[in-house]
Every structure is written in structure tokens, then in C-alpha cells.
Amino acid sequence: MATVCRSFALSGINAYLVTVETVTLHGQPSVNIVGMGDTAVKEAAHRLEASLTYGRFEFPKLKVVINLAPSGVKKSGSHFDLAMAVSLLQESGQILVDPEMLSDSAFIGELSLNAELRPVSGVLPMVIAARENGMRHLFVPIENYREASLVKGLDIYAFKSLVEVADYLQGKQEYFPPLFEEVERLFDPHEGLDFADVRGQDVLIEYIVSAVAGGHNILMIGSPGCGKSMIAKRISTIMPELSEEEALEITRIYSVTGHLRERGSLITERPFRSPHHNASMNSLVGGGSPVVPGEISLAHNGILFLDEIAEFDKKSLDALRQPMEDKVVTVSRVNSTGTFPANFMLVAAMNPCPCGHHGQLRCRCTDYEVLKYRQKLSGPILDRIEVHKYVQPVDFFNLSAQEKGRSSAELRERVQRARRIQQKRFVGVTNVNSNAQMSEAMIKEFCQLDSDSTKLLSLAFEKFHYSARTYNKFLKIARTFADLEESEVIRKKDVSAALMSRDLDKERSGMLVV
């Protein structure tokens, strides 16, 4: 009879139960690992041999067959090592574990040649899968303990080596959970970033606050060195605080991609991802085989900052359209399919023209060149970015005279208040929790204008030749501005502010082109 242990395999950001079956048969001594494992799985044979030998056990001189079931699904990773080792020890009679205990336990961990346990990635989804599959005991490497214990409802056992695991399983040794002194945070989560450091950009910051409050995406246009990146890095400091559920979602993604290994704890701040513009499409949306999440999923519940967005590959950018709409992305490959959450706020930055100094005296770009440059951003992408704002280069020499900007804490308070209003507004509506996500019908219902504001809007449309689809955007942004000031109705000043949020469209109307 084969000995059965349990472990997990990853599929996307989810894990599923894998049964590790081990038999020793009479025949030429060999190790065969079957069940569609990748190279890391196949090489486990060598790690097993070495670690058993050095871990005061003996590697059986028999034909060893290890099967990872379900056998028809590709598996990858080195975390099956521990389950294989335990089942082989049990099978060869070197340890004696109560079968009931074994059937209630699952094992995760990579083995070193010296029989030590090494941390692995993707522990969080595996623990969740363990709980879902009714496992009661989970054995993990000690470095993964904190991550594993984020999930309640089953016993986590963290060990340093295979010998310790074997001793505990046989009841030779008692288990003491590792003690972690709470590492005191030397830095606050945002690494000292605060909007108070940004001076002379009050107008822009006001629009950023509204973008964050209403869930709108934002594009900052400005000459090189005017502070676009500086501002972008601070946007996450004014986003509403993470709920526990959101934090767990983020941690899960980071666990799978291996970003968590060193930190091993819950991610408590909103992610800020800024991929370079040579990023491939797969690295942005996710891909590979097996499928792993891309930047847009790593930015889930946080900010995806695309600096120099005009330099990004057009195809990669267009691939963002569907995830931006649906807030999830499904990456399909022949062998595997992964659905990853991708609810991010897009913050983009670009130069206004090829030389970067549009609107200043030194710029010599023609209107046709400027438009061609801006057309690098496709219409559908621009369409999904509601706020386009110029960043004013600040006068350094005048900076000292200006008072400190408003702090992030203060701005975040305003954002949270506006978000609460929206939550109340969209209560009971699935998939809509911010103004940006309002459907046509909701806009009609929630964005009523008085006659004064309508007149203002139509005047502006006449003057600047805005397109019809811009109309709804103005309404949504005006709604957010009203929410920020806790006004039930949209007032003329909200519409005015909204009208100033589409700098690119407005500029388009003033260009001398056919």
C-alpha cells in the first residue's frame, strides 16, 4: 500500500490539494516522480536522497515511485519536498505516524541537502486551501510561519528541519510555536512620504484628491522634472485605509509571486507599482507558464503608476483596457488559466509634446507633432482616464516663501468622507462602489444639474468642441467634487471644477490642425 501525504499546488493565485503518494517496489534502485511535475519537482529526487542521508535516515535501496495526484495537471515548485520526504519515511518504515494524523495533515516546504527546511512562496493561498479542504494540521518552514498564521482555523506547525518534523510526528518531541518579537516599524508604511512635501501644486493636488475620492484614473502632463513622479508616489498616502479583506487579497497575490518571502506578514499598505516603460505585455497583465500575476495585479487595491505612458508599447497599453473595466484579468494559456484581481487606480504621467516643454517659450514643436505624440495613447485608454491635468513647473526660488502644503492625513480624511458618501449611495449595487464606476442610468439618477450648471456645461461644449462621451465624465467628476464638499446636489462650482479637469481635450480645441 502506498503512503499518502498531502500538499498543495498553485494555480493562479489559488491553491488546490495535491495528494503525494509514495511506494517502494522491488526492482532496481531508482526514484521516479510522476504527475506532470516541472524541473523543480523532478529534481526533488536528488534533494530527497541527500537530505534523508544527512538527516540521519536512510534512503531506501528500492525502486521509489512518487505520484502527485491529480496526475494530469502540470505542477511546479519545490514545496512538495517535505510531503515527499515524510511519505517516503513512513513508507520505508523509518518513522511511524498515526495514519489518522497523517490524513489530517498537509506539508509545505523545500528541503536543503542538509535536511533543513527552506521557505517557499504561495503559502497564503495554500493555507487557505488547506482550511477549505478540512486539514487540521499544516507543517511549514519556520520562515513561512507568520504568513501561514494569517489564516485562522487550523494548527500551523513551523519547523527548521526534516528531523524536527519527523520527531514531532512520532511524538518524540513537543511542539513550541516560534516566538517572534513584534518587529518595531522603523519607518511608517509610506516611508515618510507626505503630500505636505509637495509645494506650489495645490490646484493639482485638489484634482488628485478628487480622483482618489471618486475612483477616477488620472493623467499628469508636464515637462521633465516638474514633479510628476514625486506626486504619484504620494498618492497612495491619501487612499482610504485597507480593510482586512483587501489586505488579505493583496497579500495572497504577493505570496504567489514570491514578493512576500522576506517579509512574511500581512501587507498593510496599498501597493504602488511603477513598471518601466519597456515592460512587456505579459509582465503587465500577467502570463507565463504556469500563469503568474502581472503588474496590474500586483497593483491591486493600490496604484499602478505608468511614467512616460506615451513610451509604453501600444499593444501593452491596450491590453489594460479590459482589466480596467472589469477589475479582474483572466490570463489564458494552453495549459493553465488564471484569473487575478486587478482593481487598481491608474496614475499616468507623460510629457506634453516631443520636446517636453509645450506651452513654454522654448518649445518649437508644431501642433501636428504634438497631436501625433499624444496619439501614442490610444483613444480607448484616454477614455478610461477621466482626469487629465497639467503639472505646473514650480518656481524653486519662490518655494521657501510658500507655506507647507496640506498633509496627507488631512487629505485622506477628506477622501474617506467622500468615499463614505459614495458607499451609502451605491449600497446594494454590486460592482459599483465609486463614482467612476457609475453606469449611464446611475449618472442620470445621481448627477442632476440645475439650469445654471447645464448652461455652463453647454457653453463650454460649444467653445471647446468636447466630444459627446466627455459629457458623462464631466458629470461623474462634478459628482465627486460635490461629494468632497458633502453637498447633496451638484453645484455650479462643482461643474466648473470638473470642466477644468480635461486639459488635453481643451487644448485639442485650440490647436491649429485640420
Binding site: T366, L371, Y390, K493, D494, L512
Partner: protein, 368 residues
């Protein structure tokens, strides 16, 4: 007939002067194609080598290939004996006898050339926009070269004013150069014509541009040079224009502006100082036509100012206008509204819609 024109114009060693001589002497290009040795001998002043060429190179393959391209792109041939071909061009035998064009030609009327720097300033843009729009409204043809900068603005402003415009390019008319002017080119074909002496399929080359400039200079009645650096192609056009006795006007500007070194030098050498669009048209000729354009487009600049003063302004608006001697960041105007940002935005929005200020990006400008 077209195919024989193409054949003749593609023969090596036969330039525009010889083509004219041959066609004038024998009556038509087909006659040239079919001419015998004796007939060719009867034409005065042909080099003997040329007759050899004409008799030996009877292949129409090249011509047929070009004709195919012309059909595909709806390109037409404009030959020197066509009534649409300006008769005065024939006076200069070095100018091409065969042209290719796309679009609609008009019988030769008065037309004004506007040329200038590719890398122009906003001052240049403003000047050219005013001039070309004025001409477009007055029904005067605007001629330029579809290059970046001043040229493209001249075409664009003219088209926007509902005018008619011709463009001379230094490549085949099937090619758009620079590529970002694709829509502009289509618009010109719709409301004007793209003309070239180079057969379709020719890519632009540096050495083609002076020839293009020469043709443009001969075609126009007057030439306005808006901005030109020291070594600008616009100066070559101006040089030819003077050679062909066309009036050259130049736009004055700061002596320190590198984009105006060429134009200022033209002024020094006797070009007319350009101060307003009316200088571009002959008063007696089109006075009537342009009176409406006058009213609409060129209100004396003083009047505009008067109008602006007539508007009632509240004290806050006045305070903003007072600060706008030069463009200001929105940020800097906050103090006027006591730091109330949304109030300021509302005010600016209102003022912009009333045409009192221009808000571009984060910058507020007064209206001149």
C-alpha cells in the same frame, strides 16, 4: 496622350526646356514619340545625342508603371499647354513642363505664397494663422509647401477659413511627407491641390527641395516669409521669388530671436515689412471680395481692447485681470479668492467662457 507625356518626361537628358521645344515643334508628345529621324532633324537646336536617345528609347514600360500609380492614387497630369497651367511659368524654361497633382485645380488666379521655418515660435504661428485665414476668407489662394511648422499652419488656417490652398511638395504626390500631415494632405486634396514635379513614388530627398521652392516662387504673386532661421529653405524660396520679380514680404521680429535672423535680413535687403494681412492682396482687384473678410477677421486690434473694457467686471475679476500682464499659474491667483480654490476655479471657468482669459493647463493668460 498622357502616356507619351510620361514617356517624354522620363527620358534621361531631356529637361523641361527641350521637352517644350520638341512638343512645340512637332505638335504633341505622341508626334515626338513617332517622329522619324528626319523630322527630329528639322527641329532647331537639338543635340545629335538627343535624337539618338529619342529614337532608341521607345519603351513605354516606365510610363505605364507611373500611369498605374497615377490611376491608383487619382493623380492627374498637368502639362504646360494646359489652361490650368499658369502661362507665366512657361516664361522660365528651366521650370518643369509636366506636373503631377491630386485634388482640384482652378484657373490661374491671384495666389499668395506663405513660407517659413519648420521650427517656429508661437509668434510665427499667430502671424501665419491670421494671414492665411484672412486670405482664405478673401478667396485668395494660399500656396505653401506642407512642411512642418509655418507651412502646415498656413494650409490649415486657410482651410479652416473655408479657403482654397495649393501645396508644392518635393516628393511624389502619393507620398505624405512629413507623415503626421496625412489628414492635412487629404483635406488639401479635398479643397485644393497637392502639386509636384516629381513622379509618383519619388521619396523626398534633400536636393529636391530647392527645385520645389523654385516652382513655388514662380507660381505665386507675392511671397510672405514668416519666420526663417539663418539657413532656412524659406530663404531659398525668397531668393527665387526675387529672381522672378515677385514681391517678397517678411515679418519683423526681435533681432535676438534665432527664428527671425533670416526674415530680418530679408527686410534689411529690401523686402516689404509685413504688418497686416491686407498688404497681401491688391486693393483694386479684390477690394469687394475681401470686405467681408475684413469685417470678420481683422478687426483693428484697438477695437478688441475697447470691447473688452466694455464688459462689466466684478472686483475679483478685475484683480485677476490686473495680475495677467504675463501668464500666471492658477496657484498664484489663489490669494485673490482668499485661498478658496473651488471659488477661484468657478470664477476662472466663467471668465474663460466669457472670453476674458485663457486657461491652458495650469496657466492663465489674459486675452490680447
Amino acid at each position: 496622350m498622357e502616356i507619351y507625356w510620361l514617356w517624354l518626361s522620363h527620358l534621361k537628358g531631356i529637361g523641361p526646356a527641350t521637352s517644350r521645344k520638341l512638343v512645340n515643334g512637332l505638335g504633341s508628345p505622341r508626334a515626338v514619340y513617332q517622329a522619324t529621324h528626319e523630322k527630329l532633324l528639322s527641329i532647331q537646336g537639338l543635340r545629335s545625342g538627343l535624337i539618338e536617345t529619342l529614337l532608341s528609347q521607345r519603351s513605354l514600360d516606365t510610363a505605364k508603371r507611373v500611369q498605374e500609380l497615377m490611376r491608383r492614387y487619382e493623380i492627374h497630369l498637368l502639362t504646360y499647354d494646359n489652361p490650368y497651367f499658369p502661362y507665366y511659368i512657361n516664361r522660365f524654361s528651366s521650370l518643369p513642363a509636366v506636373l503631377y497633382y491630386r485634388g482640384n485645380l482652378r484657373l490661374p488666379t491671384s495666389c499668395i505664397g506663405i513660407v517659413g521655418s519648420r521650427r517656429c515660435t508661437s509668434y510665427g504661428k499667430e502671424v501665419v494663422a491670421e494671414a492665411a485665414a484672412f486670405l482664405g476668407m478673401a478667396g485668395v489662394t494660399v500656396v505653401s509647401g506642407m512642411a512642418k511648422g509655418i507651412d502646415s499652419y498656413a494650409h490649415t488656417a486657410c482651410l479652416k477659413a473655408g479657403g482654397y490652398t495649393l501645396t508644392f511638395v518635393a516628393n511624389g504626390v502619393d507620398i505624405c511627407y512629413p507623415p503626421e500631415h496625412q489628414t492635412l494632405m487629404e483635406e488639401i486634396i479635398e479643397n485644393g491641390a497637392v502639386i509636384s514635379s516629381y513622379p509618383p513614388g519619388t521619396r523626398p530627398r534633400q536636393e529636391y527641395f530647392p527645385n520645389r521652392n523654385k516652382l513655388l516662387a514662380a507660381w505665386v504673386d507675392k511671397l510672405l516669409v514668416v519666420e526663417a532661421t539663418e539657413r532656412s529653405g524659406a530663404l531659398i524660396t525668397a531668393k527665387y521669388a526675387l529672381e522672378y520679380n515677385r514681391k517678397v514680404l517678411a515679418v519683423p521680429n526681435s533681432i535676438y530671436s534665432p527664428e527671425s535672423v533670416g526674415t530680418n535680413r530679408l527686410l534689411l535687403n529690401g523686402a516689404e515689412v509685413y504688418l497686416e494681412p491686407r498688404q497681401l492682396i491688391d486693393n483694386n482687384e479684390i477690394e469687394v471680395k475681401c470686405s467681408s473678410a475684413n469685417d470678420q477677421l481683422s478687426p483693428p486690434r484697438a477695437m478688441k481692447k475697447q470691447e473688452k473694457l466694455d464688459c462689466t467686471t466684478n472686483p475679483q475679476e478685475q484683480a485677476i485681470l490686473d495680475m495677467l500682464d504675463q501668464p500666471q499659474a492658477v496657484q498664484n491667483l489663489l490669494s485673490i479668492c482668499n485661498g478658496d480654490l473651488s471659488g477661484l476655479l468657478e470664477l476662472l471657468c466663467q471668465m474663460e467662457l466669457e472670453g476674458k482669459v485663457v486657461v491652458s493647463g495650469q496657466k492663465v493668460q489674459g486675452v490680447r
